[in-house]
Symmetry: C2
Subunit: 472 residues, 2 copies
């Protein structure tokens, strides 16, 4: 299958026409919910429900069998009992369908008969060339065109379009399980590769390397099908765009658990660790890092160096940020004499790094202006490469003031920064975070990850400039 854009997975993410195999029971059938999800998210490709028990669903004609669809079909989405799946895929291949997402589970993941059925799928893809994602996957979501293969209710209807592709080997990472509207992650594409009977992490990396929407990939992997191919693909990908890898099943028990989850085999974790590092990818180790660290790459340019300014409403938080910065490979910036002079003029309690804004703000009648001047002054310093900022939001510092301040600041300074908000209301913290990311400034739900993200940015910036023969 050759792509319209030079790589070979386009039919999974940008199909022009889709056949849906599954229950069309009104409001509940998985095929019905899937079609509804596509319509809700604005997918405008042609849809062909295939189910012999229905003539019509959601105002669309339903077909008893895929052969009866007259038009060409790019993609099949299959959510039917496992024993029915090989025949359906065979019929799709005969019809010339380019690719299929098999959502149904109980294949290699269940062992026994399921494993045999999966082998039949492998035989069909090998013989016919139809590409298969899954089985045992919820498949894909594409924020650019609203296309999805997820047959479960989302519970919300907005996903912010942006530069992060989240890939995984588990469905829990996809929109039907995650607060993507509340957190407003800037997403290009999402994908769960499931049992990987055909399409795997290597295909995804090759496809996403060419995907103009994707600036960074965060990849959850429980195992790798072919180590050498993966290393090659990861190396090529990381030379172009940042690649973050969350590889659980680190422990022996975790690897055993993974084997029963996805039918995959264990490899000593240290081998993964070394391999990931060699490719230029960055390993992350928790769900929180997997979700949050990519934001710095989606929103910020690379960093020209590792000298960080730490600016905080809380002295205690400034100390914690300093530890995190050092542990993430950042250097605590030493401000120039000119900057120190300017800061001293702004307030006698301003000196050094981290900057504790608490005392100076309590001594002035115009804390918002002082705060803005301090941030601008520090980021103007040639000795500073990036900044992490900790701010209170709440009754004493309303959202509108904060967002307007950053709007002005971003016209004055352009170095990478990350922000962590704290306050008495989770709703306010979430709202100001969403609004700030609307301006292109990444925000974090915990302070340590806000700092670690800058560490990851600097590390990748160094790797990239090393490839390009420049220094950082």
């Amino acid at each position: 299958m050759k792509s319209r854009n030079g790589s070979d997975l386009w039919a999974f993410f940008e199909p022009r026409s889709v056949a849906v195999f599954g229950s069309l029971k009104d409001g509940m059938g998985l095929g019905y919910v899937l079609i509804k999800n596509m319509l809700d998210f604005g997918f405008t490709g042609r849809l062909y429900p295939v189910n012999p028990s229905h003539n019509e669903v959601l105002g669309m004609k339903a077909y008893p069998i895929v052969n009866e669809v007259a038009d060409p079909v790019d993609l099949a989405v299959v959510i039917t009992p496992p024993p029915t799946v090989p025949t359906i895929i065979e019929q799709c291949a005969q019809k010339g369908v380019k690719a299929a997402v098999i959502v149904s589970e109980n294949f290699a993941d269940a062992g026994g008969e399921g494993a045999k059925l999966q082998q039949q799928l492998v035989d069909i893809t090998t013989r016919s060339g139809i590409r298969i994602m899954g089985p045992n996957t919820v498949g894909v979501f594409n924020a650019a065109n609203g296309f999805t293969t997820i047959p479960y209710p989302f519970g919300y209807d907005k996903i912010r379009r942006g530069g992060i592709a989240y890939c995984s080997q588990t469905g829990v990472v996809l929109p039907q399980c995650q607060p993507l509207e509340d957190r407003a992650f800037p997403i290009s594409k999402m994908c769960d590769v499931g049992n990987k009977c055909d399409v795997n992490e290597v295909d995804l990396l090759n496809y996403l390397a060419d995907d103009a929407e994707t600036r960074v990939v965060a990849m959850h992997l429980e195992d790798v099908k072919d180590g050498r191919s993966f290393m090659d693909a990861a190396r090529k990908f990381a030379a172009r765009k940042p690649l973050l890898i969350f590889k659980p099943a680190r422990s022996e028990a975790g690897a055993r658990a993974s084997a029963s989850h996805t039918g995959s085999l264990a490899v000593n974790d240290r081998i993964y660790d070394t391999a990931i590092r060699q490719t230029g990818a960055i390993r992350v180790n928790t769900w929180q890092e997997y979700w949050d660290i990519p934001k710095v790459f989606a929103y910020q340019a690379l960093s020209t160096g590792n000298r960080v300014a730490i600016i905080s409403h809380s002295g205690g938080a400034g100390v914690v940020a300093t530890d995190s910065a050092v542990e993430s490979g950042l250097a605590i910036a030493r401000y120039s004499d000119a900057t120190l002079d300017k800061l001293a003029k702004l307030s006698p309690r301003l000196a050094g790094n981290p900057i504790d804004l608490g005392p100076p703000l309590s001594l002035t009648d115009d804390p918002m202006s002082l705060q803005e001047e301090v941030i601008a002054t520090v980021l103007d310093d040639a000795n500073v490469d990036c900044a992490t900022i900790v701010l209170y939001v709440g009754t004493m510092a309303p959202i509108s003031y904060i967002v307007e301040m950053f709007d002005r600041l971003l016209k004055r300074v352009s170095k990478p920064m990350t922000v962590w908000f704290y306050g008495t209301s989770l709703a306010l913290v979430e709202e100001v975070s969403r609004q700030l990311e609307g301006l292109g400034v990444p925000t974090y739900t915990d302070q340590e990850t806000a700092v670690k993200s800058l560490g990851a940015l600097v590390r990748y910036s160094r790797f990239k400039s090393g490839l390009e023969g420049t220094t950082i």
Copy 2:
């Protein structure tokens, strides 16, 4: 100052009468806001505003000077410019006030003149015996009686009463900066010791060891005033109740930052690490661990062993939990043959540990009952000491079903457990978490901390049983 309950800080947390020194400007003055906060949280002790510019505030008589208060005063709260503070404290000492919280900043934290003023405070406390908390502190909050010394708006009016005392060397940890209503942490007392010119972490540990409301202490410390006394106090405390210590300023740069934040000196971090371990306390390393790990001690009994059952709606999350469990010192429980038989009867896809509920639940018409039986069966197994559970909440699993299920489960099983919810709505995740903690089951905002918390529980349970000569 001898206490009513055998230790010596009662006047800070349980004063019968309080003099407030600070601006009484309507709605804005820090003294005014403080008094309002105490009234809002239901403090019923006697209040004496002291300010020569006002005759009355919030319906109370204001006094020009503390001497004019006829009744005895247990505690003074001082929020006035630094140069005025020594005289106020002197007058309080003469009046026989037992203790003072000095909220004002710009003392040793500012150096120079501020450091001299702080020395005057030290001289007064030494000479007169009046106990001083601070300066440069927001002081205390006591969930049992609504008493607080915090002069900033809270933005909410409910704090769940419970067993955790959060102590810190920074104000950012106190209620005016944290979503304590939204997260519903079960709190006994909170305290920021600030510059520690008198009251310090040792006093707090001694006091809280005897405090019937407090089951566990989480202590944020940037430095320790007297290492030997601290070790003694921590050892004595940990022999009675769990003690979690968050000691930032781990890095050299962090220690320098701390020195300018609180005027304290740096000590090599490895010394702290060894010392903390020797006392039986448990070190935590992030804000999230500081806030969340204590919940397992507040809500659960100690564990009789380290064999954990992992039950999850997501196979991917089960693998991550397995890694976290192993890395936290837990052993993955091996179910008895009887349990494995029961599980196999419940569903052919149930076996092993972690349990991935996904496939079995998709194969049954009554997922809620199956889920309940699986959890009860596993926790009944004599080979299982504790459990960590990962559940989806949302349109497909409403809050009421989940809470009712745990209500029934808690009548059948009593082993320690932690729960992590995921879903598409942050509000739903927060709501089900609050409700489940209402039943006494600790919940977590991230999966890894839910598992680490069980690790901490097991570690402390072992330490405690070692002291008592039992084995675990």
